[in-house]
């Protein structure tokens, strides 16, 4: 397989996804700041290469489980940005009809089993989806996105233990953005690399540069291939960084401005653009065109989402149980 930066179609798709995640979240931040959005927001700006690279290794019917910081996973797996935006804007046309909001967006048509408000909540669920794929004999794989902080939860341990015992087709993909809220992952865990933990669970573990979309794709591809061919689960640690605060209540007291600035110089998007230019795969004009296309698509999605009718309280009582 050609490196992504040397294949024009692949490079375009990578850039389109990464820019869409970035611009989507900037738009969310802006709408939130203007009081047009409710609740709280967890932005993944700076981390775009992880979901983008990971989802390149997946088929449409493969599963993902996502987190509270899930916009990127959702977009990379192929969700409709207008319906995502409509959900955040509390519209009836949103993915969850305004009932779930940012932390609960799911798009089952693209295999996204849902964001999650509960840290590590998706870990055993990914194991269960992989169990189901195995029992149904479908060859589907599940990728479980989770944060570094999630590795402090009992649910993480139990989900991985079951997957290892049954050698299920699941990839545990840790987005190590160095903090679980204010807790530095290096303080939280007495490990040099979080992937050192994999050995204790009897599964392969690897650490990659999470801001390098190629490295993420390659590691996930290898894990997915192994899972699909019956080789069981893999743990991948993707090192990245959250540029924004944890959520809107974050005053960033637990880290320095210098640290944030330093990480901003490792922006995954221009890094990949530079590689594409260097390889001569696309021109600066092509890159500009991709950025403009993303901007236009997003702008019109926001406009359409915003113009849609608000979510209605009618039928809430009937919404609880399936019939």
């Amino acid at each position: 397989m050609n490196p992504l930066a040397q294949d024009a179609e692949a490079a375009k798709s990578v850039l389109k996804t990464m820019w869409m995640i970035r611009r989507f979240e900037e738009a969310v931040e802006d709408l939130y700041g203007r009081g047009m959005m409710h609740g709280t927001m967890h932005l993944s700006i700076g981390q775009e290469a992880v979901p983008t690279g990971a989802c390149l290794a997946l088929n449409k019917d493969d599963y993902i489980t996502s987190t509270h910081r899930g916009h990127g996973h959702c977009i990379a797996k192929g969700a409709d940005i207008e319906r995502m935006m409509a959900e955040l804007l509390a519209k009836e046309s949103g993915y969850c009809r305004g009932r779930g909001g940012s932390m609960h967006i799911a798009d089952t048509t693209t295999g996204n089993l849902g964001a999650n408000g509960i840290v590590a909540g998706g870990v055993p669920i990914a194991t269960g989806a992989a169990l189901s794929a195995h029992m149904r004999g479908t060859k589907q794989v599940a990728v479980c996105f989770h944060g570094d902080g999630a590795m402090g939860e009992g649910a993480w341990h139990e989900g991985v233990v079951l997957a290892a015992m049954w050698q299920l087709p699941v990839v545990f993909l840790c987005e190590n953005n160095h903090y679980g809220m204010s807790m530095a992952s290096e303080k939280a865990f007495n490990l040099e690399k979080l992937s050192d933990r994999a050995k204790g669970y009897g599964i392969p573990g690897v650490t990659v540069d999470g801001n390098d979309v190629q490295a993420v794709r390659d590691a996930v591809q290898e894990a997915v291939d192994r899972a699909r061919s019956g080789g069981g689960p893999t743990f991948i640690e993707a090192l990245t960084y959250r540029w924004r605060g944890h959520s809107k209540s974050d005053k960033n007291l637990y880290r320095t401005r210098e640290e944030i600035e330093e990480w901003r110089t490792h922006d995954p998007i221009p890094a990949f653009e530079a590689r594409v230019l260097q390889a001569g795969t696309l021109t600066e004009t092509d890159l500009e065109e991709i950025r403009n296309q993303v901007r236009d698509e997003l702008r019109s999605a926001v406009q359409r989402a915003n113009a849609a009718p608000d979510a209605t309280a009618d039928g809430l009582l009937e919404a609880v149980y399936a019939s």
Binding site: H38, G39, T40, E87, A90, C96, G98, R99, G100, G101, S102, M103, H104, N116, G117, I118, V119, A120, G121, G149, A150, G152, E153, G154, A155, G180, M181, S182, M183, A188, F189, S249, D250, K251, L253, Y254, D310, A311, T312, A313, L316, L317, A319, V320
Partner: protein, 337 residues
């Protein structure tokens, strides 16, 4: 007893969050055994700003940041409590008590009994509950019934800054596990708070307002909504008593029954979903008592809908009682009966 803060005691205006911090400050200073642990309680200052800059005063030994491990946090609290410490554990949202439930329900609540009284579990579990912040279904529940239903736990729901401090200090004195359910919408509200070492005894209800036409019993954020409703009712000629039980377990049913006996009408208001909510218990206590003979109207409950809390602001509002709902329910009770 209408006025909480006794005349002549020295008070200071504080927010509910500041009042809790003040209680922590007092308790940590006066008792070497007291410490608190939880997620982001240190330099971050707590997800809702409760600890603020307390870390600079008390240090990392007494105010401990943990990993994201609710079961571990509560369990470590239990272990410390049965070996001579006075731990307070903070759950960032009361919803995450689900993660910690084994340690709360099977361990903390039962150890004293199971061991024939040989050991006490003086553990305080603080956790914010309630809706109104757009945090949706997994971050907005009102779960008091879970805890009230488990023998061995005491449960308090402070509704004012003074009680947020006073009940926390009283909970720390208690030799049993006490679950303190705070409310997210109250953290920024302010009021007079007694300075220094001021306790609000467990098991004593507060009569927030006295009136002859009906009794409104309300918990948590519903107390202030009931008070606001009572003002509007008064303007319309309906005179309501408002009772805040403060401690759900053990419940001061005497105060509630005496008031309902006098007014003959009762409206029970809770944010939690109605089915088997705490107010069902209050209704049953009234029905089983002498007071039943004095009722002039059926007992009414006003509760959250039996649904998970939705995200959209209008939907979220529709899911739990608002001031106008309380006014309407109270008016109906008084005019129809």
């Amino acid at each position: 007893m209408v006025d909480e803060v006794v005349e002549g005691t020295e008070t200071k205006v504080m927010t509910y969050a500041e009042a809790i911090r003040d209680a922590l400050r007092v308790a940590i200073a006066e008792d070497d055994r007291v410490f608190m642990m939880g997620e982001d309680v240190g330099i971050y200052g707590g997800a809702f700003g409760v600890t603020g800059e307390l870390i600079n005063e008390v240090g990392t030994e007494r105010l401990r940041d943990t990993t994201i491990s609710e079961l571990g946090i509560v369990g470590a609290g239990v272990g410390a409590a049965i070996t001579g410490m006075r731990p307070i554990v903070e759950l960032q949202f009361s919803d995450f008590s689900a993660q910690a439930m084994d340690q709360i329900a099977n361990q903390a609540a039962k150890i004293h009994f199971m061991l024939g009284g040989a050991v006490n579990v003086p553990l305080v579990i603080r956790a914010p509950g309630g809706s109104g912040t757009g945090a949706a279904a997994q971050h907005s529940q009102s779960l008091e019934t879970w805890f009230v239903h488990i023998p061995g736990l005491k449960v308090v729901m402070p509704a004012t800054p003074d009680d947020a401090k006073g009940l926390l200090l009283a909970a720390l004195d208690d030799p049993n596990p006490v679950v303190v359910l705070e409310h997210k919408l109250l953290y920024k509200t302010s009021g007079d708070v007694r300075v220094g070492d001021a306790r609000t005894p467990l098991g004593v209800a507060a009569i927030r307002r006295e009136g002859k036409d009906l009794t409104i019993v309300a918990t948590g954020v519903m107390v202030s909504r009931a008070m606001e409703a009572a003002e509007q009712l008064a303007a319309a000629g309906v005179d309501a008593t408002v009772i805040d039980p403060r401690t759900l377990k053990p419940l001061d049913s005497k105060t509630i029954l005496a008031s309902v006996t006098a007014t003959g009408r009762v409206l029970l208001v809770q944010e939690a979903a109605g089915t088997l909510g705490f107010m069902s218990e209050v209704a049953a206590i009234i029905a089983e008592s002498e007071t039943f003979a004095h009722l002039r109207a059926p007992v009414r409950r006003l509760s959250g809908l039996d649904i998970p809390i939705p995200y959209a602001p209008k939907l979220e509002r529709a899911a739990v009682p608002q001031v106008e709902d309380i006014v309407a329910a109270a008016t109906a009770l008084v005019t129809e009966w």
